[in-house]
């Protein structure tokens, strides 16, 4: 529009810039106010039905739907980890994801470890891991974590041993697992075996929060404050 006089053109430019700035500021202000109403948004996931029914509705985009839900799950976990540390819907969201996309392996690890260590939902963690064992029968990590959960949280070596035995027989499992199973099977070597077990788990975990939890557990077992892996005690200190 080169027909405008220089003065008029300048005026128009100033008007454009001021209007844009005003609209952007208003947008930022309204969105900031609206953000306060966002807290319940993620909990709307509870309305989602079981993943088995969700799958046909995903119209062939099962993996994409699972990926979006995975982002929601991480965001849900992170939001509550930083605030109330309560995760009542985490298990539900994770089961939706693995129903939609059973080959998506990370949710099994995440659920198996985080649900037990952080959310104190050991049974649900093991259910997720059992699903992982079905989807990936050759992965030693899933039975290992089920065994770990029984041993660490439930203090039940008798239930942990079959899973650890299974883990030790699978490809790529670390050699120490066989020794560990042998020690756990004999009552006399249990304290030492428990400590070795926790130390190995500590060495093989990269997540800072989980490492800290295991470290605390080692300290408690060393100080005699906590029992370890006797089949008849079923007291959980978490």
């Amino acid at each position: 529009m080169g027909t405008l006089s220089p003065g008029k053109e300048l005026k128009q430019r100033v008007f454009t810039i001021i209007t844009l700035a005003a609209l952007l500021t208003a947008l930022w202000g309204v969105q900031k106010e609206l953000h306060a109403y966002k807290t319940v948004e993620i909990e709307s996931l509870i309305y989602l039905p079981s993943g088995k029914y969700l799958r046909p509705l995903a119209l062939g985009y099962d993996q994409v739907a699972a990926d979006i839900l995975w982002m929601k799950a991480v965001s849900y976990f992170g939001g509550h980890y930083l605030t109330d540390k309560q995760y009542p819907w985490l298990y539900h969201i994770l089961t939706l994801i693995i129903d939609l996309d059973p080959r998506f392996d990370f949710p099994y690890y995440f659920g198996g470890v985080v649900l037990s260590l952080e959310a104190s939902q050991v049974d649900q963690a093991n259910q997720i891991l059992e699903r992982g064992m079905e989807a990936y029968p050759q992965r030693w990590e899933f039975p290992f974590y089920v065994g770990f959960n029984y041993f660490y949280h439930k203090q039940d070596a008798s239930k942990a041993i079959p899973y650890l035995e299974r883990a030790s027989s699978l490809p790529k499992s670390p050699p120490y697992l066989k020794v560990l199973v042998a020690h756990l099977s004999s009552k006399s070597g249990q304290k030492e075996a428990a400590l070795n077990f926790y130390r190995e788990a500590y060495q093989h975990t990269s997540d800072g929060m989980i490492r800290q939890k295991i470290k605390e557990k080692i300290d408690r077992v060393l100080s005699g404050e906590e029992k370890y892996g006797t089949g008849d005690t079923d007291t959980t200190s978490h």
């Binding site: 529009m1 844009l20 609209l23 947008l27 969105q31 106010e33 609206l34 109403y37 948004e41 982002m71």
Partner: protein, 259 residues
């Protein structure tokens, strides 16, 4: 104002001529078929399922119409050179664009009204007795869907003011998808621990349309209370965002050279 109304009315007539409203028949068939199937297979909560699917269908059909109509109208006027006689009259380019936008909004309003009427009709037939058919929340949810459609249509107008229909369609669809994920992206950015990513996702959150602001379907279907602040701010958000998009479209359209 008279000019805007004349362009809007013509745009609406053109949409009708292009048989856009025929999409309502598909909506009716989908909803009717669904309700018939549900009648056979569900036990309880029939009204909830009809409401869920009804609102989702209004939303999806509306978005498709907003995109299809929004991206092609301005382009067609330029392509068929019908824009010249219009702009030769005392009509400013911004008036032309805003008039076109109001025409699309009018088309969407008629679509949404007819679809809503059909939804209430089905609720009356299939779900009578399992809850109130005319609840205020449902009207609010539909009004919010309409606001979302108006924002999507404004985005389509913005892209069509400088791009081809195909690209405009792609951009608008991308805006629609991202618009439902910005809040999650912001949350993930904040959790990443990377300051740059955190700032970037926060900027995207404030700059890109947050279409989740208009999603109250879950609350409405479950009869959860709706805060008046959210209703007010949501409406204000739509108004500000539409103004911003139309203003940008006008600025871009003003500088365009038609050949």
């Amino acid at each position: 104002m008279r000019v805007l109304w004349a362009i809007a009315r013509n745009t609406f007539k053109e949409a009708v001529r292009n048989k856009i409203l025929y999409s309502l028949i598909f909506f009716a068939l989908v909803m009717m078929g669904l309700s018939l199937v549900l009648d056979q297979v569900t036990i309880g909560q029939r009204s909830k399922i009809i409401k869920d699917f009804g609102l989702a269908s209004i939303n999806i059909f509306g978005v498709l119409i907003a995109i299809v109509v929004g991206i092609s109208l301005v382009y067609k006027e330029i392509d068929k050179r019908t824009i010249y006689p219009i702009l030769a009259k005392p009509v400013r380019r911004s008036q032309f664009l805003i008039g076109k936008y109001f025409g699309i909004v009018l088309t969407l309003a008629v679509e949404v009204m007819v679809m809503s009427f059909f939804l209430f009709f089905l609720l009356g037939i299939y779900a009578a007795g399992s809850g109130p058919v005319f609840d205020v929340g449902l009207f609010e949810a539909i009004a919010f869907i309409f606001m979302e459609l108006a924002v999507v249509a404004a985005a389509a107008i913005l892209f069509s003011s400088f791009s081809t229909p195909f690209l405009s369609g792609m951009f608008t669809l991308a805006i629609y998808i991202i618009g439902h994920l910005t809040a999650d992206l912001k949350r993930l950015g904040a959790l990443s621990g990377n300051l740059l990513l955190e700032r970037l996702t926060a900027l995207m959150y404030y700059l890109l349309p947050d279409l989740e602001n208009f999603n109250i379907k879950g609350e409405v279907v479950y009869g959860l209370p709706l805060e008046s602040g959210k209703i007010f701010l949501g409406s204000l958000y739509a108004l500000v965002y539409i103004s911003l998009l139309l203003f940008l479209s006008s600025v871009i359209f003003q500088t365009r050279d038609f050949k």
